[in-house]
């Protein structure tokens, strides 16, 4: 401690050690002392010397300090000192007063020193990783100086340190945790660190966003009171800007995360006028910038459009318009708000329509557009504000045909409203006022009302202006050229060139791509001579731009000329140029526009932003027009008339060719569609063919399968009929063993099923037979008794017949006798007539009996017949029963057989079971563990194939 007092304290006697010597000693102690306390004291001493002896401490102690960071991790105090010391030697922004009045480039040297030490420190990328690890230490004495050191390193060697942090695992994520630190100092310094870290590094910006930075930052802003908050809000906003500027991925994430909606309350500043502190102005300014970043014209159109939509939907645009119309808003906030509104509405129809509907709370209420234009043409308003209004007006008209029409309409005789100030009136007033800035702004504003809009270009030609009393009205177009041609007599506040440039830009925009306007322009005899005069004159430096623009205007008169004015056809104008100006000269003058130093700046972005009012010369949209026309006009002027004619011819033939080509194209298109049709057909047919092929294949494989089955069956059949013992065949059949077994099982089952079926059939048939028998026996008996009866009857009839025959014989005999007796007794006629009567009677009785006999005979015959058929019936019934009996016998036999078969199979199975058991036993005996039964079973079968085969064959 003594020597410390020597260094720092009042002068003791004796030789003073130099700073360097002291630092060397301290470094030695840091490096070699085994006592923590001793090391800690030495580091503390280094720290206190590190500002005054920055170079020495930096050069000599850095390595030692790094080693302390590596090894003394457990002592937060020494870590804190070491980090502080490193911070002091690396850090550049020394707020403290420099000792004495040293040289001016002191600060420069300091910067170099910081960069030098930073380089040395990050030469070992491990050092940054080490620092990142230390930041995880919660202790304030470590974390705070750690944050400051890393910030300082980033400040002096941004890209390199960013690179190292980016590749250290979870490096960026860890730094994000600083925002969650409850100690404000650390959180705030963490914000500064993240600002440095994210500067210009898209990869880091994205990771920070991924780690929910938007959410946390927006929360902090709200907690701190939004625009009324302090510098923390400012720092959050700066970090947000870093994350979003030129980072489309993060912008998209911001929009998709619905954070735009969270911005809206920022702008609820209202009219309460609680005062506009410098901090509040800064905060609001940054907030507006954030909005602009999201809808910047340089973003992709789709991205900007979706943000614009969100801003309208959540009411942010409406809120901004409230600020626009509020009183007491500081001018630069107002200006930035106008610029912001401009970009929020640019090219978005819905937003533009809304903007057109906004009214200022004046009495009577006026459209916001009118109020703004009043500021634009008001010389007393700040320049930036006037530029902002112009920008707003341009953005309102950008891709807005409806808006363009509305503005132009306020100038047309039919729609003019004399009672109130209109946008058109203000613009005309500005165009011809005595203030060059107003002239320029009004001319450009009017040009934007005509941009890409042929209708409005033609409409504006109708506008007539009353100049002074008594004189006839003059057209707006003519008035513009009149003012132009007044030349040096033009009396303007500001710059004459500015007025001329503004008017020329308006005229060029107006008549380009509009032959009628060209004709109107050429119709005035003074205009062309004026232009040629301007271009050919030898004017000073500042007029050369005007010459260029005049050349452009004349060029447009040639290019968009429809040759309807005889004196000023394309050809005549070109001859005029050749004669009065010279082609080369003309082209050179024309080329001056794009060579102007302010041209390229205006071409960069749409916003009219000029460092001074004098620089206000080019309009962004106009630079596009120049780019488009310059080449074409140059070509048109340089081409000779012959060339032109030739070209015309070529054009014609080309057109012819074109029509031929079109025909061919048509043909090709037709053929193409035919081809397509055919292709489709081919595809359809191909797929059909494929389908068919696959069906065929399927069928083929089925057939093959069937064949295989058939073969197997055949094989089996063959095997069945063959004698066992054929080795080759046996081997072959062995292969089928398990399959066969299952087949056998199946067959067994089938046989059993059949068996059952047969049995039921049998039972059925048995019962049928029984019933048949029961039916059949009585019927036979019946018929027999009937037969007997019939026989009896027949017998009776026979007897009757016999008796009658006998009677007849007797009667015949009697008659014979009578005949013989009558011969002698002929003489007795009476007796003879009696006999005759008796004979007749007998004869009739005989014939009656004969017919009766006949009838009986027929009856017998039918009876006999029926008897016969009954006998037949009986016979067939008997034979049926016999057949049934036979069938029954057969079936019984079959059942017997299948039973036997079944028994055989059962026996076979039993055999196998036995065998399995044996084998199991054997395996057990051999000490083999017995596995799952089934598995073993199957394996068993494989092993015993041969035997089994034989057995099976025997069985079959």
């Amino acid at each position: 401690m003594d020597f410390l007092r020597g260094v720092m304290g009042s002068k003791p006697a004796g030789p003073q050690p130099t700073g360097a010597e002291t630092i060397q000693k301290l470094c030695d102690r840091v490096a070699s002392s085994t006592l923590l306390e001793d090391r800690r004291d030495a580091v503390r001493a280094l720290k206190s010397l590190s500002k005054k002896y920055r170079l020495e401490v930096g050069t000599m102690s850095m390595d030692h300090l790094v080693r302390i960071l590596q090894t003394d991790r457990s002592d937060t105090e020494i870590l804190g000192y070491a980090l502080d010391t490193l911070y002091n030697i690396v850090c550049n922004d020394e707020e403290e007063e420099q000792d004495d009045s040293e040289e001016e480039n002191q600060q420069k040297q300091e910067d170099d020193l910081g960069a030098q030490f930073t380089d040395k420190f990050i030469q070992e990328p491990e050092n940054i990783t080490l620092l990142l690890t230390l930041l995880e230490e919660f202790d304030f004495h470590v974390r705070w100086p750690g944050v400051k050191l890393l910030t300082a390193l980033l400040k002096s060697q941004c890209a390199q340190v960013q690179g190292i942090v980016l590749v250290s695992p979870m490096g960026v994520s860890r730094l994000m945790d600083l925002l969650a630190d409850s100690r404000e100092v650390i959180r705030n310094d963490g914000l500064l660190l993240l600002q440095q870290l994210t500067k210009g590094n898209a990869a880091i910006q994205k990771i920070v966003a991924f780690e929910n930075a938007f959410e946390r930052l927006l929360d902090i802003i709200t907690e701190e009171g939004s625009s009324d908050g302090g510098i923390v809000v400012e720092d959050c906003l700066l970090l947000l800007l870093n994350l979003l500027k030129n980072n489309s991925s993060n912008q998209n994430f911001f929009k998709e995360g619905s954070y735009i909606q969270k911005m809206k309350p920022w702008f609820e500043v209202g009219d309460d006028n609680s005062g506009w502190s410098a901090q509040k102005v800064t905060n609001l300014h940054l907030m507006l910038q954030l909005v602009r970043v999201l809808v910047s014209p340089v973003n992709s159109p789709g991205a900007t459009a979706s943000c614009q939509k969100a801003m309208f939907q959540c009411g942010l645009l409406q809120q901004l318009c409230t600020i626009l119309m509020a009183t007491g808003v500081p001018a630069d906030i107002l200006t930035e708000t106008i610029n912001t509104v401009s970009e929020v509405i640019r090219g978005s129809e819905v937003n533009q329509d809304y903007f057109a509907s906004v009214n200022a709370p004046s009495n009577p209420p006026r459209p916001a557009i009118v109020v703004l234009l009043m500021s634009m043409v008001n010389e007393r308003q700040p320049f930036v504000l006037r530029c902002a209004v112009l920008y707003c007006f341009q953005c309102f008209l950008y891709k807005n045909q409806k808006g363009q029409g509305e503005i132009v309409a306020t100038l047309l005789p039919s729609t003019i409203d004399a009672n109130s100030i209109s946008a058109g009136q203000l613009l005309c007033g500005g165009l011809f006022s005595a203030d060059s800035l107003s002239n320029w702004c009004a001319a450009v504003a009017l040009a934007h009302a005509l941009q890409d809009n042929l209708t409005q270009k033609e409409q504006l030609l109708r506008v007539q202006l009353a100049t002074s009393l008594g004189k006839p009205p003059v057209s707006l177009l003519q008035q513009c050229t009149n003012i132009l041609s007044q030349g040096d007599k033009l009396n303007r506040r500001g710059s004459r060139v500015q007025t001329k440039v503004g008017l020329l830009m308006l005229l060029c925009t107006w008549i380009s791509n509009c032959p009628i306007a060209v004709m109107h322009f050429l119709h005035n005899q003074d205009n062309v001579p004026f232009l040629t005069g301007q271009i050919s004159e030898n004017l000073g430096e500042d007029e050369r731009l005007v010459q260029g623009l005049c050349a452009l205007l004349l060029g447009i008169c040639i290019y968009y000329n429809d040759n309807s004015l005889e004196n000023y056809t394309k050809e005549k104008l070109k001859q005029l140029i050749e004669k009065r100006i010279g082609k080369e000269n003309f082209v050179e003058k024309l080329a001056f526009i794009t060579k102007h130093e302010l041209y390229s700046r205006a071409a960069q972005k749409p916003q009219p932003a000029f460092s001074t009012p004098e620089h206000m010369l080019f309009d962004h949209e106009f630079t596009k027009l120049v780019k488009e026309l310059e080449g074409m006009i140059t070509k048109a002027v340089l081409r000779s008339s012959e060339e032109e004619k030739k070209e015309e011819e070529v054009k014609k033939t080309l057109e012819q060719h074109d029509s031929i080509v079109t025909q061919y194209k048509e043909l090709i298109r037709e053929q193409d569609s035919q081809i397509n049709e055919l292709k489709k057909q081919v595809t359809a047919l191909t797929s059909q063919t494929e389908n068919l092929e696959s069906t065929i294949t399927q069928q083929l494989s089925q057939i093959q399968q069937h064949k295989d089955q058939y073969n197997i069956l055949k094989l089996k059949l063959g095997k069945d009929t063959q004698q066992a013992g054929n080795q080759a065949e046996a081997a072959h059949v062995n292969g089928l063993q398990p399959e066969e077994l299952s087949q056998l099982r199946e067959r067994l089952e089938e046989v059993q099923r059949q068996n059952q079926l047969l049995q039921t059939q049998l039972t059925e048939k048995d019962s049928l037979i029984t019933s048949l028998k029961a039916e059949g026996v009585p019927s036979v008996e019946d018929s027999t008794s009937e037969v007997t009866e019939l026989r009896k009857e027949v017998e009776g009839l026979k007897a009757q017949l016999q008796s009658q025959t006998a009677e007849i014989t007797q009667l015949q005999n009697e008659r014979q006798e009578l005949l013989r007796g009558s011969e002698p007794t002929v003489a007795v006629p009476a007796e003879e007539s009696v006999y005759k009567e008796k004979i007749a009677e007998l004869e009739s009785r005989l014939s009656a009996q004969t017919t009766e006999n006949q009838k009986l005979k027929g009856e017998v015959k039918t009876l006999l017949e029926s008897k016969e058929s009954m006998e037949k019936d009986l016979a067939s019934a008997t034979s049926t029963s016999a057949i049934l009996q036979a069938e029954k016998n057969k079936l019984q036999q079959e059942v017997q057989e299948s039973k036997k078969e079944q028994d055989d199979l059962l026996m076979l199975l039993a055999d196998q079971d036995q065998k399995i058991l044996n084998l199991k036993q054997r395996l057990k005996d051999l000490g083999e563990p017995i596995e799952d039964e089934d598995e073993l079973d199957s394996r068993d079968q494989f092993e015993d194939d041969d035997e089994e085969e034989e057995e099976e064959e025997c069985d079959e």
Binding site: V172, A203, F210, E211, F253, E256
Partner: protein, 212 residues
Amino acid sequence: MAYAYLFKYIIIGDTGVGKSCLLLQFTDKRFQPVHDLTIGVEFGARMITIDGKQIKLQIWDTAGQESFRSITRSYYRGAAGALLVYDITRRDTFNHLTTWLEDARQHSNSNMVIMLIGNKSDLESRREVKKEEGEAFAREHGLIFMETSAKTASNVEEAFINTAKEIYEKIQEGVFDINNEANGIKIGPQHAATNSTMGGSQGGQQAGGGCC
């Protein structure tokens, strides 16, 4: 738009396998035929519906090139889902899956749902990796699997939505700590409200089903 949940996804895999195209197809329904090398990461988002709930997907499409590996690793930890993509027409991209998976497992939270995607399924004639191989890899490593085509849009929706379904199920099972945003899941601002209305409408649907 109000959502019930927000899930963060990452898309990883070798360069040229079609990660950016998958994202573009999912968010914009477009296909980009030229390879636009991704530098670092690109963001994309879309809303989907699962189980009647609005779910916002925030997707970070990472660069597959080796030189960006250290940057892209920063995104693993905060993601709830990952699409690990290979190209079925390039076997090397399939062979690298193990490395990708190791990397992901090492740097992500353990619950991260990983969907394995075999992309460019439209290029059947140039296929080098069989579908079965993808399935086997997924099975072996406990991933969900799908083959997609960013060109024809086949299965692209499904890939993103099925991953979300898996995460959603894990939430229902209480596996995810949804209050820790570091897991890549956030509850929507009106979740409670959405919940109750959803319950009501589901009941209504059931009643409707009953009467039909």
